[in-house]
């Protein structure tokens, strides 16, 4: 998967934020979009902000419960940095209030953990369409 060889077709830069290493890898491997380029993975909110500054992603998958800075705050800061950013929240939190809060801060989609590959790809497809 050399980024250079097909970078011509890749229009979306994806940043994956999740405190679980396994989950980050899972998301990275499961997404099936040729137009997506994973530009970084972050384990907490602060790291995500730092990476976003450096890599200028178009799309972020965001966990909510994370050390350092939680997902909700990270979303609002990312949106403040780049309003056109599209954020897919991927969280195990089942209470709807958190989801509503995330949407309010600027998230564009919501995916519950655990999820299937298909659900992940459908959610991403909706975001980049």
């Amino acid at each position: 998967m050399g980024a250079a060889e097909s970078s011509g077709r890749r229009q979306f830069r994806l940043l994956i934020v999740d405190d679980s290493n396994i989950m980050r890898r899972r998301i990275e491997r499961s997404q099936r979009f040729e137009e997506l380029e994973v530009v970084g993975t972050a384990g907490d909110g602060l790291e995500a902000l730092e990476l976003a500054r450096r890599t200028d992603p178009d799309l972020v998958t965001m966990d909510l419960t994370m050390p350092q800075m939680d997902g909700i705050e990270c979303i609002s800061r990312l949106i403040a940095m780049k309003p056109s950013l599209r954020i897919l929240v991927i969280s195990a939190l089942s209470d709807k209030a958190t989801a509503v809060q995330a949407m309010e801060q600027g998230a564009n989609g919501f995916l519950h953990k655990p999820f299937t590959d298909r659900q992940l790809n459908d959610a991403i497809a909706e975001l980049i369409s």
Binding site: K96, A97, A99, V100, Q101, E104, G106, E126
Partner: protein, 711 residues
Amino acid sequence: MQFSGSDRNGRLLIAGAAAAIAAVMVLVLIAGFRLATQIRASVGALQRTSSLQTYPAVISQQLTALRQRLGTLEYTGHVHRELARTVQNFNRRLSGVERRNLDPAAVRHAERLWQNYTPVLAPVLAFSGEPYDDTDTGSSLSASGRKYYDEVRQAGIFAQGNAPVLHSELAAVSAALQARTSAAAARLRTLLLAGVLAVLLLALAAAYLQLSRARQQRAAREAQDQTRDILKTVREGFFLLDADYRIGAVWSEALTHLFGRSDFKGLAFEELLRDKVPADTLATAVKYIKLLWGERARENLMKSINPLGQLEVSMDNGRGGKESRFLQFDFHRVMGPKGVKHVLCAVGDITSSVLLARELQEAQENAHSQLDMMIGMLHADPLQVSAFLDSAAAGLKHVNTIMKEPARTDGEFRKKLAGLSRELHSIKGEASALSLMSVAERVHHLEDMVAELKAKSDLTGNDFLPVVLKLDELLAHLRGVREMTARLVSLKEGPAGEGTASLPQLRIGDAEAPQAGRPVRATVDLGALLEQLAGKLASDHGKQFRLTLTGLGEVPAGYLDTVKDCAIQMLRNAAVHGIEACETRRTAAKPEIGEVRLEFRRLEAGYEFVFHDDGAGLSPEALKEAAVRKNVITAEEAAALDNRAALALIFRPGFSTRDSISMDAGRGTGMDLVARAVYGLGGKIGVSTNPGRFTRFKITLPAAGAASAVA
């Protein structure tokens, strides 16, 4: 909405048609009036020209009459005058004819003809005097008479010759006039006909429009009726929200039933749910509604994060109280040309399905807990279980006795609650020691209810009803457990009929006839019970400790229950509060595995029961703080306590250092029960501690009560 627009158009069309009818009628009237005026003038002229036609013949006749009279010498004066008058009239009338309506050439021709009369008639008319000479022999024409006669004769001949010509000329004039009048009359007729036709056509058009408008209105009315029927019959509450999150003017009748109100028009969505849901839920709901208007709100996404998909609301039940119901809100965005126009909300009452789902879940949990119970019982000694069941049955019987005791005052009710607490607590302790979690959880729940009652002021008998119901449930459950134990025993011990299948009723240190008051509870093998509880507590709380039991065989039958209850309570306290986690112990340079000792021995007078753990010990300051926090004593009282008195706080009712309640600690019913039980037997209890090193309880019991416990 869509009907009223076309209705307005229809009305405009009809009004236009009516205006056109009026305009056509005015035009026809004006034109008709002018034509009629013209015809009227023409008819007048026609009459006058018609009357002129007779004059040439009359003049000719009068001239003939004048000649005959002259010939017969008769009087001619009056004929002459008549002729003169006729000529004069003719002159006047001919010159008075209105040329405007006539063919001027024809008139001029007639005038010229008439002018030819003048030289002939003038000498006749100029005659004056007497034409006759009267003599005795008779009369004869005078000279002037003869001349007059000749002139009259010549004029007569002329008139006779010219009269038809002049007559026909005048007839031509009047014929032309008549033709013109007829033409005008024909035009008038055509005009009237056309006007009537136009009006008819327009009237037809208006009628058609009116008809189609009526048809449209009927269709609109029918559609409205259908909409109303739908809104009346549909079981969901439907309404539209506008961009200000307010309810529109139309809603389904179910909404009225769901919310018990009908003033929805313009009501803010927030107001619909206010006081019916907790404040944070309301805030989330409002945020969600706002999100629906946003660009990012895709239908699927919004559906998946809908916080009102299963909303518990508290409603008036119509009898002055509140009841809990479950509502399901669905939201659909109605798009207009400029984005979201409305949000359609559908509300349904899903209480019964939610309750059903809960029941199912409960049933499932019950099945699980039964399975757990069975597995637990497979591991437990059936003898112990059955002994516990006997003991629990006896305890509950005692509870029953307590509940039946008459009580009126608040104090008496509180005494009941205290008795309940003690019994429940010891049943729970034994149940968890035997890993009968289904029983322990039920008792725990009962304890919650009792605790709630304790916190209540002004107790009445009715407050106890839910407790009684729960107690019944517990009894039923215990019966279930007993049945299952019986089955297990029969499984383990082979087919029935071998004489061992019946449940053994084990009693250690069998008490003979129980004394009045509290029945003697059957007991289990105390050592095994405590070992099992210790193992369970250690694993539940992540502690490691060794339990050493000494002299339990010495416990006399009358003290067995108390010793067991006390030992369970103290063991629980030691495991939860006393023994530290391994790391803590390591850092404190203590052996990682804790040490808990329980010693029972006979003294010269009575018995001694020592419970020792090498845990964290008791801190007088921490105890005081906790007692103040739990409102057991005031801050001033706390400040006045010395260390010894502070340690004694743990024997006060309601005291606990825990802020949260778990299965094993926090209720504050514990050491007070131990102390009470000990005092009840006439014994004493003391505590000594070294913070960080150990806690030791020493209980002394008199020899007298050893045979059987006194309530």
